[in-house]
């Protein structure tokens, strides 16, 4: 790719992330409000649509505090290490049909996603350590333990989709889901991968530290976990990364299990693929918000035993079953 094209693509993706995060935050507050019989933000702008913009401006104008005893450089770099991978994953997300709708259709797409999603751990540990605060450090320890153990079921849940498609490229996986069974049912991988999808969803929630797996920033125990000492722009970066990965999780789920940008039935292909993709992603974003406002946080030991004793064996069994399918087909 030409360097100029790359820069333009990077700018477009950054703009997309900012826009998505802006309205994911708004959406989350609205959905949680409705579920709790509240109204949610409705003051700034029409129906509160400008609320997040106001919040972001407030964060940007805040004083940027670095604690006196903090490790200065790691403290500054940590939010960047957390945000950049969340941004990099968008490189392989197939928003629509053809190469024009994906920044770079890597032939190792899914491997790349898995690799990049594991990087924020380093940033979180850096943040926790450099803050020189016991809550931050405890949060960072928990984060490290959690992300490393949930990486495994996450990868294992992604493998069956790769096995069925026979390729690691994200566009390739979507293309492999084309067509229908009996002319009605879409040939999406969810048909044989129901269990895989649930494992993926749980592991991905834990991986991007969202409720009910947010023990690393459990506010009732750890103040705010690894980002206790952060404020202003640096805090905004952590926040941005969290919501950017909320979209990533949904987008990858759609790509792997729900046919990406493919319409639910070929007769509905007059609706542009991008709309299909974003629409499907929106459904999963809603599901994540729904889970978030329903389930209480799991305990640390429960989280670990659930990951190792339940998710990993079940994911392995799921791979075995998929292998059987691939051989028989």
């Amino acid at each position: 790719m030409q360097p100029t094209v790359m820069i333009v693509a990077a700018a477009i993706i950054l703009g997309f992330i900012l826009l998505v995060v802006l309205y994911l935050v708004y959406g989350l507050r609205k959905v949680m409000g409705w579920i709790q019989a509240r109204i949610g933000p409705n003051r700034v702008g029409w129906e509160g649509l400008a609320q997040t913009i106001a919040d972001a401006l407030k964060l940007l104008t805040k004083e940027d505090i670095i604690p006196k005893n903090a490790d200065k450089w790691p403290f500054i770099i940590a939010p960047i290490i957390v945000f950049v991978p969340a941004y990099m994953v968008y490189l392989v997300i197939p928003f629509g049909k053809g190469n024009g709708w994906v920044v770079q259709d890597l032939n190792i797409g899914i491997l790349y996603v898995v690799a990049v999603l594991a990087i924020p751990t380093i940033g979180i540990i850096t943040a926790g350590w450099s803050s020189n605060n016991k809550w931050s450090l405890l949060g960072a320890f928990r984060a490290a333990a959690q992300i490393i153990s949930y990486d495994i079921p996450l990868v294992l849940a992604m493998v069956p989709a790769v096995m069925l498609a026979g390729t690691l490229s994200t566009q390739g996986i979507v293309n492999a889901q084309q067509g229908t069974w009996f002319g009605i049912f879409p040939r999406w991988f969810i048909v044989s991968q129901g269990v895989g999808f649930i494992i993926y969803l749980l592991a991905a929630l834990a991986e991007s530290n969202m409720t009910p797996f947010d023990i690393m920033e459990a506010e009732s125990e750890l103040v705010a976990g690894f980002n206790t000492e952060y404020s202003g722009m640096k805090f905004a970066l952590f926040f941005l990364a969290e919501f950017a990965s909320m979209f990533t999780v949904s987008a990858i789920a759609v790509t792997l299990f729900f046919g990406g940008w493919l319409p639910i039935h070929p007769s509905l292909s007059f609706i542009p693929p991008v709309i299909w993709f974003l629409g499907k992603a929106a459904v999963f974003i809603f599901v994540i918000m729904w889970i978030r406002s329903t389930l209480p946080r799991v305990r640390v030991d429960q989280l670990m035993s659930f990951g190792w004793k339940v998710l990993i064996p079940v994911a392995l069994l799921n791979i075995a079953w998929t292998g059987l399918l691939v051989i028989l087909a």
């Binding site: 959905v31 019989a37 109204i39 389930l295």
Partner: protein, 165 residues
């Protein structure tokens, strides 16, 4: 033998119960999405105050005479548990008490309604006024005119004022 004491847990059963409760919880929250919102957009939308609501006591005007019905007996001042009502009156020429001063310090009012209950002429009634914030302590002191004005907004309620039995 600790085994006999230990409660036996059937893991498949527990897992099933767990899965069921998770699904049930999500159903509950999903139904909540469409529930009537309990938030009241306060300054724009107000509560519908129930009959017998006790706001600040007021002296509404009698529609017949145009003045309040206070006879200066001081029953309210004696009934007040926080002693915020002060009535000053003197004996007039026709052996009737003339009210010189009627003051009520809203800052300490506990809205118990005992003053309205004690009033023999139903002159003092509980209004429905609850927005009583002021910038200074002095502004929270109500004299007779202010109580009249407050009562004027609920004119016609004088007779039902003593419904707090």
């Amino acid at each position: 033998m600790t085994d006999s004491v230990k409660q036996k847990i059937s893991y498949p059963k527990e897992a099933w119960r767990f899965a069921k409760s998770v699904v049930k919880g999500h159903v509950v929250t999903f139904k909540n999405l469409f529930r009537k919102k309990s938030t009241l957009q306060y300054p724009e939308v107000r509560w519908e105050l129930p009959e017998g609501y006790r706001g600040l006591p007021a002296l509404p005007a009698d529609p017949k005479t145009g003045a309040d019905k206070c006879i200066g007996c001081g029953a309210c001042a004696r009934a007040c548990p926080v002693q915020i009502i002060e009535v000053k009156a003197h004996m007039g020429e026709d052996k009737k008490r003339v009210v010189d001063e009627f003051s009520l310090f809203a800052g300490r009012c506990i809205f118990c309604g005992l003053c309205a209950e004690a009033c023999p002429t139903h002159a003092l009634v509980m209004s429905k006024e609850y927005e009583l914030a002021e910038f200074t302590r002095e502004e929270a002191a109500y004299n007779r005119e202010r109580l009249n004005r407050l009562g004027g907004t609920i004119a016609g309620q004088q007779d039902s004022g003593k419904e707090v039995s």
